[in-house]
Amino acid sequence: MFDAIVIGSGMSGGIAAKELCERGLKVLVLERGGDVQPADQTDWMQPWQLPNAGMIPEAELAADYPVQSQCYALSSATKQFFVKDSEQPYQTPADKAFSWIRGYHKGGRSIMWGRQTYRLSEMDFSANARDGVGSDWPIRYADLAPWYDHIEDFIGVSGSMEGLDQLPDGVFLPPFELNDGELQFKSAVESSFPGRKVIPGRVANLREAREHHRAQGRAPCQVRSLCERGCMFKAYHSSLNTSLPAAERTGNMTLVTNAIVHSLVHDPATNRVTGVRVIDAQTRAGTTYEAKVVFSCASTIGTAMILLNSASEAQPRGLANSSDMVGRNLMDHMYQLLTIAVFPDGPDSFYFGRRPTGFYIPRYRNLDGQHEEFLRGYGYQGGFSRNGGPGQVIGQPGLIGEELKAEARKLGPWTMFLGGFGEVLPNPENRVTLYPTLKDKWGLPQAHISASMGENERKMAEQIQRDGRAMAEAAGGIVVTTIDQPGPFGLGIHEMGTACMGKDPTTSVLGKWNQTHDVPNLFITDGAAMASSGCQNPSLTYMAMSARAADAAASMLAEGAL
């Protein structure tokens, strides 16, 4: 018997495992995918070594990756990190597309994540209570703040101190500074729109490697922007290169790959989870592992499916689902609300290196009360570049030969990419259920995912695009492209909310320690726990909750409270 089982080895599971192991617990980590070998990380590949110029064969793309191919990070150099949709089916209503982007392997999506790293604020944790939407978070910013510190220090976050209530500062390494195009934009935006700020994107790449980072075998970011292929320098945080090795070093971790969780074993007599039923992905052999505590970090939809598939006579609606909230309140961020603009009067300068981040515009709507036609707010990620090269010449009719080469040698005009990220409200009708008849190849029920944006999101999306254009034009930009509809639900790859935290056990699944209200030794610290989405990229919050809950669980275990 293990002290603890952690389901999932990704962003949340890696931290849960590390923190539990460091507290002396014997921990089993179950990963449904395979191991990752050093050669699977392809950041060593020069551009001319990319298979098929980086492109996945068209027939393979259509057959195996119709959903995953919507993610910018999928290429012939990264496909080993994405599931084949053909092997991992799920269902949606015909009129409600959902893009479920997944990576099933040791480290999960933390290998390909976008690395943008932002804290939620007090405003976010009190939002549901203030608006009467969803369940009131049982924690506030002060509860999580020290754990944000703890995680930022461990993973390494580069960013600037800004003193903003809506986007608290943290334990930062120096930022990747704004380039001159961005500084000009910052000046124009901040003078034209008081209250708005353009700051360096906060990113989990080591601008500097401090002593404790070097001790983990990590080196400073080499400014290559190859991150989704993995990193031989271990310069960005991933579970694969950072959290799991830390857990490993304690000698307390056992990690089993190809271990697909079927369900949890619940003992109604003690009302405790006693074990985890696992199917071997390759042999299909069944095994049950036992532990005193279980952490589900299987990802938002994965965790909901495990709970629902663990229904029993004692808990017929699914494990820890007396509230009927498991699977409900599925959220994401509105994504792909894009504005692209060129700046003919940009500064006559350039930059060196391929920075792994850009700029960030923190939320500025509804900060001190309700002022808009919609609840909550949004932020933007973006950046300025002068790419030039082939992208600059392909669209010019009649440009060939020596003239084409000469033109491609020139720096392009400063070009801004500006993408809005909008908060999505919790809505119990946006939900994951188990499809009643269709199974996957291991005999497990397929997910049925039914989610759509609502009126609040529609109004917010319009404002995001109005503001994007206004800021570009105020800074002298000429808007060349906009996308006015958010991408499919899920494509923000910030899915969350299917086992929400809350104060009231009748309307929420988890209490203030990420412990299920119904089953005391079952903890959930992945995105499922989120009671609201904020508009900030959520991985940091998942990691902070994982560390905090692991600390609490270890104490409860030591006190005999579990």
């Binding site: 002068r386 790419n387 040698r409």
Partner: protein
Amino acid sequence: MGAKGVDRRTLLARALLLVGASVVSLPFEALAAVEADLLSDTQRATLVAAADTLVPQTDTPGAVDVGVPALFEGLLANWAAPATATALADVLDRLAALGGGFAALSAAERKATLQAFDAAALAPSDAPRANPFGPPPAADPAYQQFKELVLTLYYLSQPALTQELAYTHVPGRWESSVIVTSATRPQGGPGMF
């Protein structure tokens, strides 16, 4: 490499000689995986001539020098779906007919002919923009794709990235402001900012 590959190498070499290219530096391993002859001799000769005309040798290597025709055939064999391969082969057929036999024209004639074709083919179209990061919709999407593939293969090559552009695989540092001089070149490679 099987006998068929050798045949293809010979055929390609013959086509390359038409434009005076050296065959020494070509990445022939790109052909190793090709199972079937996807292009006729005429299409292959047209591919070489078009690549050479689009990106000729100047003070730096051109598309043929860096092996774009062989790499393009590799894409036809290993990347393109049948409909795409057919459309691209059709582009080659249309290019082959230019000037009564495109591959046989002088370099100057090829350039004048292809420039006119290119200008018409890439004239803006009212079609919806499929990819906000890609080029604007053009009158002849198949030719646009052909040209984009040729340019992509060229500008992903080591000579183009390091001689035409200033690619460094491991920049090692971020400098947020650099003075522009006459020697400043785009960095190429991945990354948006």
